[in-house]
């Protein structure tokens, strides 16, 4: 067949020597390319080569997915690839745009919420304008796992997009010292994390074994094959996402958040290794919060303690919900005013939570957006007045 003539009718007959030379050259090339890749570490460049915002529309929220086949989304740890896939990377800041970044956990990202039901979506739908007439545009940079360190990592990257205001949704769980390295995003970006730790003198141990410090072999193409494949798959899933606008699996049935607590669990008053004791800014990750303030610099920052589900079920005298025994959460709330954190803990009624004590229904999300919108505009207008 003519299409295979180049293979089966070579200019000179193939010999074992030819085959040997091809294999040797291929091996040398393979080793060289891998070595070059390891030395140059082009992960950032690879992450920025994105079909999003060029061939495909940018995503409404950062890529995250535990079942890619159904959600057309996947989790990866390459910050450049993540942000390149987000609409913010493809939206040059307009002259009349008042840009707001929204940072937080899975409740901000919008677990079980469609892209137009998230906090940022409702805020955008309200079409706020500042007193000076600028269009307020909010970008959802929330990401699952409650960890202030994860938030700061994302925030530091996101500052390149010139925000005018940052809204940071936090909860007690994000402050737990154990949680700071819980996010794979932090562990897989040890250089960035170490820089933050050094710059802001954080109480996180840079030699913590949970940091994934790649060896030379890990940095080769072979070692990076999975992350590289994930970047490629993210582009391909982008096609499906843009066609279906599905970026999350929406199960027909989900396990609702816990309302009643069994005797064992209900009477368990420990929280993240803490027994009932005074919680202070020292034994919680308030240093990371301050690092976040340092990262945003002079950009106005609103920090909000997000609403939680408050149980009235069995053993609710001991626990507010799955996450928090009462003593811990009450102690945490005592620290909020001094840290200039706006407390909206009980804003949303108990029937507006879904599968977790922080995940809201669309109605709950809308209600939160109304309040956050108020705070946002107060701060935005005040900031513009002071300029």
């Amino acid at each position: 067949m003519a299409q295979w003539d180049w293979l089966v009718r070579p200019e000179a007959p193939y010999t074992w020597r030819f085959a040997r030379n091809v294999v040797i050259k291929a091996l040398i090339l393979f080793v060289l390319l891998n070595a070059l890749f390891a030395l140059l570490n082009p992960s950032a460049l690879v992450g920025r080569l994105s079909a999003y915002n060029v061939l495909l529309p940018g995503r409404d929220r950062l890529p995250y997915g535990e079942n890619p086949d159904q959600s057309y989304n996947l989790s990866l740890n390459n910050l450049d690839a993540m942000f390149s896939a987000h609409q913010i990377a493809g939206t040059p800041k307009a002259a009349d745009e008042y840009r707001v970044l929204l940072i937080g956990d899975s409740s901000v990202w919008g677990v079980l919420l469609k892209p137009d039901e998230t906090l940022s979506a409702y805020l955008n739908a309200a079409q706020y304008r500042t007193a000076s007439g600028q269009r307020v545009r909010i970008y959802n940079l929330g990401y699952p796992i409650q960890s202030l360190m994860k938030d700061v990592l994302l925030l530091q990257y996101a500052m390149r997009y010139q925000p005018d205001l940052v809204i940071w949704m936090v909860t007690l769980e994000s402050f737990a010292p154990n949680q700071q390295l819980e996010s794979m995003l932090v562990r897989a970006n040890p250089d960035l994390a170490h820089r933050l730790i050094a710059a802001y003198h954080l109480k996180i141990d840079p030699s913590d074994p949970r940091f994934s410090v790649p060896s030379l072999l890990d940095r080769t193409i072979v070692g990076q094959r999975r992350p590289l494949a994930d970047v490629l798959r993210l582009q391909l899933y982008g096609a499906t996402w843009s066609i279906t606008r599905i970026d999350q699996r929406y199960p027909k049935f989900y396990e609702p958040h816990m309302e009643n607590f069994s005797e064992n669990f209900g009477r368990d008053v420990t929280w993240q290794g803490f027994q009932p004791q005074p919680l202070t800014t020292d034994n919680l990750a308030f240093d990371v919060l301050e690092a976040g303030r340092g990262v945003v610099g002079s950009v106005p920052l609103i920090i909000i303690n997000e609403p939680i589900f408050i149980s009235s079920g069995v053993n609710s005298d001991v626990r507010y919900d799955f996450f928090y025994p009462r003593w811990a959460y009450d102690a945490y709330r005592q620290l909020l005013p001094a840290a200039q954190i706006i407390d909206l803990w009980n804003l949303i009624s108990s029937d507006q939570f879904t599968d977790s004590a922080v995940h809201l229904t669309p109605a709950g999300s809308r209600q939160l957006a109304a309040k956050v919108g108020e705070l946002m505009m107060q701060t935005a207008n005040a900031a513009q007045q002071h300029r």
């Binding site: 067949m1 003519a2 299409q3 295979w4 293979l7 089966v8 007959p13 193939y14 010999t15 074992w16 030819f18 085959a19 091809v22 057309y72 490629l232 798959r233 391909l236 899933y237 096609a239 499906t240 843009s242 066609i243 279906t244 606008r245 599905i246």
Partner: protein, 470 residues
Amino acid sequence: MTLVSIVVFGIGAALYGLIVPARWRGWVLLATSVVAIYWLQPASPVRPVDFVLPTATLVLGVIGWWLTRPDSTLDRDSAFTLGLIGVAVVALSALGGLIGLTASPPPNVLEVVFTLVLVTAALVSLAALVPDRVRTLTLFIVLILIIFAILKVDTLALALSHWLRARTGRVLHLAAMSDVQWLGFSYVAFRLIHTLRDRQTGKLPPLSLREYVTYLIFFPAYTAGPIDRAERFVKDYRALPGLDAPRAVEGVSRIVIGIFKKFVIADSLALFALDAVKASQAQTGSGLWLLLYAYSFRLFFDFSGYSDIAIGLGRLFSINLPENFDRPYLKTNITAFWQSWHITLSTWARFYVFTPLSRYLLSRPHKPSANLVVLICQAATMVVIGLWHGITPNFVIWGLWHGVGLWLHKLYTDRTRTYYQTLSERPRLRRAISWGAALLTFHFVALGWVWFALPDVNLSLNVLRRLFGG
């Protein structure tokens, strides 16, 4: 085939070609193929189905050979082959589970021996009862088609799964078609029918049992073709030179190209290729077109990549399997497309459906018009090809789509032959028409894939409507 199995077969081919003495190569190829069909068979939750199915393939092969052999004697080579197959099956039942050659722990050795003896006795008795070879050949073809139908019709496969689960004490409500996934049977069936029909028409050359069974289950082509012809296969099989440099380079090159096409390009396109779920989720017509294009190219790269791997492995084992694809999406008409897409399947269908049917219709006393004969034969042939993929209304419609398309193309060609002959003096116009024709042909085929990709008629109609703005 997985990447692991391809690498294993590739290494095996190198060892085979370089180490195995010439007089043993045929035997090694047979033994390797016998082991391979057990290794490749996917696991079934219903034990010991994944052991029974490859064994059944071998039994069908032995029966097929018995019915197609030119005389009634059992020559020494064939007797030894029969013994070797029996020993291999027993050995696999004893050791296969231990060394991971069978998908799940095989049945007890004594059970296997007893069953083989019983089956052999039954077949020998049947052979004595049915002396009319021609009628027996036909009955065997019918049996193959019945097995085919049971495996391909959802309700029948499900009923079989229920029955198997009931007999083996498995949970009944978990019955599924996948319980009886008989790897490679579609291709085995066509190879069997080809030899049986050629025996009936006197075209099949004499084959030993070893040649016949190796042809039937030659492992590189076992799961997804190409569908070789016995007489062509046997020519290579009887020669089996060792591995030389040209064959090694060509074989490995084809395998590498096939791996890239299948595991890189096709598997990437699969992430946004048309399927029932994405079809119902797509928000726009243009999105559906993108899904359809992705499906069209995914199908091509997956299938042609697989064929490249099979052909490459075949080359390493000194078997020159036939080509299966020849740039089909660049063809300028549907007839040329079907001469370049899954070539061995369309050739098989031409030999065993189109030609006999057209001969029959043309030989009738009140024969239909030539055009009607072509329409009936084209449609019937393509419907058979459709049903071979799956026995559902969608595959019937897909077959009719192409059958009518082929017929329309024939009518068009007959009417415009003279005009196209004048185009040799107008190369630019000819080129423009070629490009237009290729685009039209591609889209005709792509729209046909809607029926192929989706499981039911309503969804397919809905997608077609939305593709055109409905």
